[in-house]
């Protein structure tokens, strides 16, 4: 039976590929042998990325969690609990690009509704959690991404696109559709989270001069 957490369509097997294995070795070396269960989150993430690489859909199927449980000597149930607790782990298949729109208050005040609407228009997705008909995009609603200074934020897979509006959102999605990844970061004229158009304060300080 399938529940909200376990879709009926599950692959029968999962094996870490050599790229993942290399990463796992690095992760496991950080923990003493009898505490290796601590590596559960990195391993889930490695599995999710491998799925993305191999199948184009970055999610963690149940078999992968079982493999991780076995590898880390922990009960499979404990892995399911962790994977389902964190929204960053996808326990169901998703599109090739994961559009994560922050709708928490700062982003909302700065127009996240427009970003959501633009995503919907560009992909044909109706609601959060859905995948577009062409299988390219999944849109989810996320809480504060910790980049409020540059609100609103659209996170695509691991990249933040900042200072978004409807037009920029449509452009990013068009680029993605064309198989290119636009440079992440602020979409306007600013350096990281510095003010738009350059620095506004401390202009005459000696350190500023030195720069």
């Amino acid at each position: 039976m399938s529940t909200a957490w376990t879709p009926a369509e599950q692959p029968d097997s999962f094996v870490f590929d050599s790229a993942s294995e290399a990463e796992i070795a690095g992760v496991l070396s950080k923990y003493p042998e009898e505490r290796k269960a601590s590596a559960v989150m990195p391993l889930l993430y490695i599995a999710q990325r491998q799925m993305g690489r191999v199948t184009g859909s970055a999610w963690v199927p149940v078999v992968a969690m079982d493999v991780i449980a076995q590898r880390l000597g922990m009960a499979a149930m404990r892995v399911y609990e962790v994977a389902s607790f964190y929204t960053m782990f996808n326990t169901r298949p998703i599109g090739r690009y994961h559009l994560q729109v922050c709708t928490t208050t700062p982003c909302w005040l700065r127009g996240s509704d427009d970003v959501v609407e633009a995503c919907q228009k560009a992909t044909g997705i109706q609601h959060f959690g859905e995948t577009s008909a062409d299988g390219l995009f999944t849109m989810t609603e996320v809480e504060c991404l910790g980049a409020c200074a540059n609100a609103p934020i659209l996170q695509v897979d691991d990249d933040f696109y900042e200072d978004m509006n409807a037009e920029r959102t449509a452009k990013v999605i068009a680029e993605l559709r064309a198989g290119r990844r636009p440079t992440p970061g602020p979409m306007i004229d600013r350096n990281v989270s510095a003010p738009e158009g350059g620095r506004k304060t401390l202009l005459s300080s000696s350190t500023a001069d030195q720069e």
């Binding site: 909200a4 957490w5 609990e81």
Partner: protein
């Protein structure tokens, strides 16, 4: 000791206690949902809030450690308001469907809402609903009622050792599930129903059958294994509706195995409710009078030594004593209580007991299992071993096993080999486990019936005893050589000396035509096909199982819930069960039938009442005078075989140990008659092996 002041009353509690324990010690009741004495502290329900002097806000007492001089207030306005608020939150998503809930009347949420709630709810919004889960044939779920206390998760992880339940997702979407929709594989899953404080987990077989206040409650003893679990039989209108465990820290703590809890529908099926006599190969029902007269006529002229009796696994000591007395008065010493052909060292009581007592497991610091699979032979005892294993921490309680685990043991074991030759290796120091035992302060060796039912049992036992003495498992302070029994009646029968006398036949030779009249006292698990056609078989028992098919005369007896009875558990604890309901139809208490027959036969037994019979039992063996107490230290000899001196014990044979229990759910006449248990063995038939990998 730490002194804390609870509502003005000073109490002393051990350091490390929680504020909740201190309040309890002071006699204050603290409402709680997630806290459970035998589980780890989760602190997630917040119902146990109390005020602590100088703390800025109410604290969850279950997880708050006491400090010297701490002042706790359990009944201030702040506390009352906090509890009301917590209660209101808990009820937000609770369906309040008490009228159709099986937990109604014994529900912590109901009681505490009544005692501490505000009586009204301000919540007008939609409630959340959670899909029910399929946890197998025993536990029914109504997950919308769940309050996420996680007791069930902690029970299955910590006590049962089958971590299959979890709390997945978070916040509004959090739910208790196995995630992959599978039946729980634990033999202790019924206890989830008891630990769940609400009606989220209830008993599937008895769903919607009765309300908790309708039951007539009777204290009894479980006979599904030899642990002697203290149970309460709950009946309504002469029918056993439910069995729940009673607390006894020396025996079962507060757990009960699934077979003990859910076999009850077997008490209603395939019952023998009137006497039957076989005439010219055809069986027909007769009155008690005719049955006893017919039987007496058959006994007529048969010499005593041509009569014998074999006792089954569920018998109470009273009926064992009565049949033994009857046969002895006829001059027979053909008695055997070991239908599985087990061998025991009966030279002293310690030869066949779980000598350390069940609670002794808590003190052991190394364990060797010889030919036993406790998970199937005594699941609650297995949980005790697991508890010790968990408490001792990593490597603190090394466990070695000789035999092949037929399922996951629920704790780490080192399988040392699968045959008795390993014992020789440990004795000679060739096997590394010898050192583990040697270094332990309280080493324990548990010998099971996979070892004792073999032909080389005396040699295996002698080797175990030698090992026990060599490694310090038997000292004046510590008794670590234990026998794990599987039959509830066995120790009581051994205490009564229900064994062949010097010239008597044992079970095997009785079955092979050694006697002319064979009386089977609930003995269904013997090789009935060995009995030659000319042997006259009397069956006194309660179920129309295998032996009743072969019997020439059937005397319908009472099942364990239907008679007052004495049972001695594997640790030698003498325990009494009371009658919960009456036996069906014309079935009677077994010892009364034997007593009545003795009169017809003209060898009237010297007791008319249960009290007289029990007084007589205490004469046969003084342990029977020690009701409820732990009598195992009492040295009492039972006659019969003496322990072979080492050297005479014979040779160890190389054959591997074979499990004594193939299918945990169907091991006796009651569980075989139970549809619930049949369903379980269907569902779990192959599961244990899967779980083991």
């Amino acid at each position: 000791m730490v002194r804390v002041i609870v509502d003005g009353t000073p109490v002393d509690v051990p350091p490390g206690s929680s504020a909740l324990q201190a309040c309890e010690a002071a006699g204050k009741e603290i409402p709680r949902f997630c806290y459970h004495e035998r589980l780890s502290v989760a602190g997630n329900c917040r119902m146990c809030l109390v005020e602590v002097a100088r703390a800025p806000k109410p604290v969850a007492s279950c997880g708050f450690p006491v400090a010297d001089g701490m002042q706790i207030f359990t009944d201030t306005e702040v506390v009352r308001r906090a509890r009301r608020a917590v209660m209101e939150f808990l009820l937000i998503n609770h369906p309040l469907d008490c009228p159709i809930c099986d937990q109604g009347g014994e529900c912590d949420l109901q009681d505490q809402a009544y005692g501490y709630g505000s009586g009204v709810s301000r919540y007008k919004e939609d409630k959340r609903a959670v899909t029910d889960k399929d946890l197998g044939p025993l536990v029914k779920t109504v997950m919308t009622r769940c309050i996420q206390c996680t007791r069930c998760v902690r029970f299955s992880t910590e006590v049962a050792g089958t971590p299959e339940l979890g709390l997945v997702s978070r916040g509004e979407n959090a739910e208790i599930t196995t995630y992959v929709e599978k039946a729980l594989t634990s033999e202790l899953s019924g206890n989830l129903i008891d630990v769940c404080p609400v009606g989220a987990l209830t008993a599937k077989p008895s769903a919607f059958h009765a309300r908790s206040w309708e039951y007539k409650k009777t204290d009894s003893i479980d006979v599904m294994d030899a642990l002697g679990t203290n149970i309460q039989v709950q009946a309504r209108g002469g029918e056993v509706m439910r069995i729940v465990p009673r607390v006894n820290d020396d025996v079962n703590e507060e757990w009960l195995s699934d077979k003990g809890r859910f076999s009850i529908d077997g008490l209603k099926r395939k019952r023998l409710d009137r006497p039957w006599v076989r005439v010219h190969g055809k069986i027909s029902s007769v009155s008690w009078k005719d049955a006893l007269i017919a039987l007496a006529r058959r006994f007529d002229g048969v010499p005593g030594d041509r009569i014998g009796a074999i006792a089954g696994d569920l018998c109470d000591a009273e009926s064992l004593c009565a049949i033994k007395d009857l046969l002895q008065s006829l001059g027979s010493s053909n008695l055997d209580c070991r239908q599985d052909g087990a061998w025991y060292d009966t030279s002293a009581r310690a030869g066949y007991l779980f000598n350390s007592d069940i609670s002794g497991i808590d003190q052991a610091d190394a364990l060797l299992l010889v030919g036993t699979m406790p998970r199937h032979e005594a699941p609650v005892l297995n949980a005790r071993i697991r508890k010790r294993f968990v408490d001792a921490g990593r490597g603190g309680f090394p466990i070695g096993m000789i035999g092949t685990p037929s399922a996951d043991m629920t704790y780490d074991v080192t399988v040392l080999g699968n045959g008795p030759d390993v014992l020789a290796d440990i004795l000679s120091g060739k096997n590394a486990f010898a050192e583990v035992l040697q270094n332990a302060k309280n080493p324990m060796i548990i010998v099971g019936h996979s070892a004792l039912t073999r032909r080389d049992a005396p040699a295996i036992y002698a080797a175990c005893r030698e090992l026990a003495h060599a490694c310090g498992a038997v000292t004046p302070e510590w008794q670590g050589l234990n026998i794990l029994h599987t039959a509830a009646s066995r120790v009581g029968a051994l205490d009564l000396g229900f064994l062949p006398g010097p010239q008597g036949c044992d079970a095997a030779s009785m079955l092979r035509g050694g006697v002319e009249i064979l009386w089977l006292l609930g003995a269904d698990d013997v090789q009935l096909d060995r009995i030659p056609p000319e042997t006259f078989v009397v069956y006194l028992g309660h179920h129309g199982d295998a032996a009743a098919q072969r019997a020439d005369i059937i005397l319908p007896g009472a099942a364990y819930t239907e008679k007052p009875g004495t049972y001695v558990n594997m640790a030698g604890r003498v325990q009494r069960a009371f009658r919960a309901v009456f036996a069906p139809g014309e079935a009677r208490e077994d010892w009364r039938i034997i007593r009545a027959f003795s009169e017809v036969l003209g060898h009237t037994l010297p007791y008319d009442t249960l009290e007289q019979l029990r007084a007589h039992m205490a004469q046969v063996n003084p342990v029977f005078a020690m009701n409820g107490g732990s009598a195992q230290r009492l040295a009492g000899t039972t006659g019969g075989q003496a322990a072979p001196a080492s050297g005479q014990a014979g040779e160890l044979m190389p054959a591997p140990f074979r499990p004594v229990i193939q299918d945990y759910y169907q091991t006796n006449v009651i569980s075989r008659a139970s549809q619930t248990m049949a369903e379980c063995s269907k569902v779990y038939g192959v599961a244990p092996a899967v779980a083991a990998e």
